[in-house]
């Protein structure tokens, strides 16, 4: 069962159009909720009059900041106490970006709701807005969070949501000891998740008056806690249901529509649905943090990295959702890839009057790896070393202890990371072979990356199993399958552990009334953490099964074997169904148990990404011809699904590298909030993809599994950038890469001479590897 390419357990209903998603229900009396978005990037509501909206027939609720509790919170769906600043309000009199909530209505139809929104009269005091992250930090910049009740903002007066400084060794001394120092500045763009299903939430009051929230969320439990806090109702009065989710990618690791929809439901005493249109999804949901990264590395003549210094400015937009944690990852998950003894990571996370950034697949790593892997490529090139061999020389390896992770946890000190499994050398070998690294003459480039598998010491999960008469088991998990296949993988782990076929596992996931706690689907945690809980629970249940089988077969339990829905000993066997019937009707005993699981370490999956590109030097057009990704994911529980995760991550990485950027005009209005102007890759655009699963055994993972969904996105942009250099001699320092960047070479970074008298190398002629 482990390692089998089984179909998704929820697959048939998905390919037959079954009513599986949040919006696939029709409730009697359902109202349509609509949010009035701020037309200004920074403004105060001087006067707001809802009388005409309320008078419109069919309108059942109109809410402004005057009507709701003022509870500072973060929308980030993180474990309590959240490390993100509490700087957000259900509704506020101040508006901090174009799209911020001014008011909300619930009406009998969408048309009436849209009309009611228009009838709300608002006088705005338009405030100076700041959209540039460097300007936002400067003295005298407009202060975005001047409210006195926000909590945990690093320096509100300078719009600094969070600040991070961490150091291993002595980086200044390291640069003194370096023969060469390389430094370059990189910039990355604002990518949007664009799940095909925009955010949608439906709320109603059940017959007991409890609030039911059916929502497209990755974090049902966090959502329950947050909504209860914001609306000041007991957690016990909130029931969150996560149906099938139409893609999340981190964008649904947010409590985003649930609070306002719940408030409308409580106000109207009717069921309410709120959903984002595609346009709203682009700028009212979340996006990837744009960053300015200044990366500096010192190396010895033989290519040994001595010191590594990454200085980052990032903007979180108007609210600090995931602000310090995403940016923490930019350091803690990126820099330790190489064994530099001296590392410094410094980061300012800055508020601007821009759409809010948040969690997005890779969680700070795509930015960091773009900078690091581009600079490492440049260093290899300047030293005359093969980029693969340079990495082999410096990269983290089995038995290493990553000390930066100990300093940089989830918004606080973390735990040291011990490398107990590492397939990176094999990833390099097989990726290089797939792309023809040593034989082909074309634009070839590569990058290495790593990620984590759950947040060490914080992420945890639980699972519960109970046995039925036919030898099947109900498996209840708080884990949230967001479409990536968690329900299937968790069912496989249960089936393997119990010795039953997959059809004997009936899984329910992500329902806070039914399933036990789980932090949710994020941080590449589900397979390793939720899977660990499932395995433990199944082992406990198996002990009960075997105890009964032992009596029935008159054989000691330790001599029993279990497989194919039966327990066997010495040629005798008893079926799971017989065991269940015995338990339920003779022993009067429900075979059932649950377990909780967490890890104090976050084993990194590794990835080597290789790209082959062709550049039209006349137009600057980049054609990616082939992308090969070799991923060490530990054990692949379902290789077919794992490949799908790699292919999907790579495709998002292609967009991040080449086409995707949410653009704002000077007033902060989105310029391309639609799929015509914001280009994601389609079937027609896809290059050849090669996916290589490099299996290792991770001692901390269930059946040796680590994680797979995030790591393959990290290396795509730098591998393409390095391949473009290989083809053209032009260094890429900005994402997404525009054709004009390649026709008129931008002024790039420069090598600096270390103060110790080391020297910078003269660029070899040609500037081509091949």
């Amino acid at each position: 069962m482990i390692g089998a390419n089984v179909r998704k357990v929820d697959g048939v209903k998905l390919v037959t159009g079954g009513a599986a998603f949040t919006d696939d229900i029709n409730l009697p009396g359902l109202l349509y909720g609509k949010i009035l978005p701020s037309p200004h990037a920074h403004a105060r509501i001087k006067r707001i009059d809802t009388a005409r909206a309320k008078a419109l027939p069919g309108v059942h609720a109109v809410l402004t900041y005057k009507d709701v509790p003022r509870v500072p919170h973060t929308t980030a769906g993180q474990a309590w106490p959240e490390p993100s600043p509490y700087d957000t309000y259900l509704l506020d009199s101040k508006l901090r970006f174009v799209g911020d909530r001014v008011a909300a209505v619930a009406a009998e139809t969408r048309a009436i709701a849209e009309r009611a929104i228009e009838l709300i009269e608002v006088d705005y005091e338009v405030l100076p807005a700041v959209l540039d992250m460097e300007q936002a930090m400067a003295d005298g910049a407009p202060v975005i969070h001047d409210e006195p009740d926000a909590k945990n903002i690093h320096d509100a007066a300078h719009n600094i949501a969070g600040y991070i400084l961490r150091q291993i060794g002595d980086v200044d001394q390291g640069f003194l000891e370096s023969d060469y120092i390389f430094e370059r500045e990189f910039r990355t763009g604002r990518q949007q998740h664009t799940p095909l299903e925009p955010h949608v939430t439906i709320c109603w009051l059940d017959p007991d008056g409890r609030l039911v929230i059916r929502s497209s969320t990755q974090v049902p439990y966090h959502c329950r806690r947050q909504v209860a806090m914001i609306l000041q109702i007991p957690v016990s009065q909130v029931h969150v249901i996560k149906p099938r989710i139409g893609g999340g990618f981190g964008g649904k690791q947010e409590m985003l529509l649930e609070d306002i929809t719940a408030a409308l439901t409580l106000a109207a005493r009717r069921p309410v649905k709120t959903e984002y249109t595609r346009e709203e999804e682009f700028y009212m949901a979340r996006s990837r943090h744009p960053q300015i990264l200044r990366m500096k590395m010192g190396v010895k003549r033989d290519g040994t990295i001595v010191a590594s210094h990454l200085k980052v400015i990032s903007t979180t937009g108007a609210y600090g959702s995931h602000a310090t944690t995403v940016q923490g990852n930019t350091g803690s998950k990126v820099l330790p890839l190489y064994r530099a003894p001296n590392i410094r990571f410094e980061c300012h996370v800055v508020y601007t009057n821009a759409p809010v950034a948040g969690a997005f697949r890779g969680y700070g790593c795509p930015q960091g790896f773009f900078a690091q892997e581009s600079l490492v490529d440049e260093i290899s090139h300047e030293l005359g070393m093969d980029p693969v061999e340079f990495r082999r020389k410096n990269m983290i390896r089995l038995g290493d202890v990553d000390k930066l992770s100990a300093q940089l946890g989830e918004g606080k000190e973390g735990l040291p990371r011990v490398i107990r499994s590492c397939g990176l050398p094999e990833c390099l070998d097989r990726g290089a072979q797939a792309i023809g690294w040593s034989t082909k003459k074309r634009g070839l480039g590569m990058a290495c990356s790593m990620q984590g598998s759950g947040i060490a010491g914080i992420d945890w999960a639980s699972a519960f199993l109970k046995m039925n008469e036919d030898g099947s088991f109900y498996l209840q998990v708080g884990a949230s399958d967001v479409g990536a296949g968690a329900d299937t993988v968790l069912s496989q782990i249960a089936a393997e552990t119990l010795g039953v076929t997959l059809d004997k596992i009936i899984i329910t996931s992500g329902d806070t009334d039914i399933t036990p706690f789980d932090v949710g689907a994020y941080a590449s945690s589900t397979t390793i953490i939720s899977g660990g809980a499932v395995k433990k629970a199944a082992e406990k249940v198996r002990t009960q099964v075997l105890g009964l089988a032992s009596k029935m077969l008159d054989t000691p339990a330790d001599q029993l074997t279990w497989a194919n829905n039966s327990v066997c000993a010495n040629g005798k066997s008893v079926t799971m169904s017989e065991i269940a019937l015995q338990a339920l009707y003779r022993e009067k005993f429900q075979i059932m148990d649950g377990a909780s699981h967490f890890n104090t370490d976050s084993p990194p999956p590794f990835c080597a990404t290789f790209a082959e590109v062709e550049v039209d030097t006349e137009t600057g057009q980049v054609h990616v011809l082939h992308l090969a990704s070799a991923v060490d994911l530990g054990k692949a529980v379902n290789p077919m699904q794992a490949e799908g995760q790699v292919e999907g991550a790579v495709t998002q990485g292609l967009g991040y590298a080449l086409t995707e950027e949410l653009l704002l005009d000077e007033a902060g209005h989105p310029r391309n909030a639609n799929f015509m102007d914001y280009k994601i890759f389609s079937a027609k655009d896809m290059p050849k993809l090669t996916t290589i699963l490099v299996e290792t055994h991770e001692p901390l993972g269930p059946y040796g599994a680590k994680s797979v969904s995030e790591v393959p996105i990290n290396g795509v942009a730098p591998a393409i950038a390095n391949a473009i250099f290989n083809a053209t001699g032009i260094r890429i320092t900005k994402l997404p890469i525009h054709p004009e960047d390649l026709v008129t070479p931008p002024l790039g970074g420069q090598k600096v001479t270390p103060p110790s008298g080391g020297r910078s190398v003269t660029p070899p002629s040609g500037g081509r590897r091949n």
């Binding site: 159009g17 599986a20 299903e197 595609r278 479409g483 292919e647």
Partner: protein, 158 residues
């Protein structure tokens, strides 16, 4: 509110529905419980609401319901017959072409339309046919392989 009667065939069954003259086909189908027709952008850009109108894939968000008068519509709910999955549905499942599944219905119908008029397409033709169905989960590779696989099997059994 003014209503009108729409007579058409849905998944093989002749029907008469009360609709508004300005109702979009997407809204009407979902209102009537055909939830497999997905709302992804309402601008004809993502393909999640793809249906077959007289055998041709169209975005239901770009068509007035009234335009279906006298015509035949197939939604994803109608792709399987008598409980038997279409070979494309089987191939999508067996090849891991489905992740969240939100785009799968539209993609399957685009693929079905392709194979109905071109049973032995090239890979480029498959990519072209699926080009209007955006997917954010899969990277399309497994869906393209699944369609080619179904075409190849059909050729093999000729």
């Amino acid at each position: 509110m003014t209503t009108m009667e729409l007579r058409f065939t849905l998944n093989g069954t002749p029907l008469a529905w009360e609709i508004g003259p300005g109702d979009l086909l997407l809204d009407v189908l979902r209102r009537e419980g055909y939830y497999g027709v997905k709302r992804g952008c309402e601008k004809g850009e993502c393909g999640a609401c793809t249906i077959l109108l007289d055998g041709k894939p169209v975005n239901a968000c770009m068509v007035f319901a009234a335009q279906a008068e006298g015509r035949a519509i197939i939604t994803i709910e109608g792709l399987a017959h008598d409980g038997e999955l279409d070979p494309l549905q089987i191939a999508f499942l067996d090849r891991g072409a489905v992740q969240c599944g939100f785009c799968s219905g539209g993609m399957l119908l685009s693929a079905r339309a392709l194979l109905n008029h071109n049973p032995d397409p090239t890979e480029a033709e498959v990519r072209e046919a699926l080009g209007g169905n955006l997917c954010r989960c899969t990277g399309y590779i497994k869906a393209i392989e699944a369609v080619l696989d179904v075409a190849a099997r059909r050729e093999a059994t000729k």
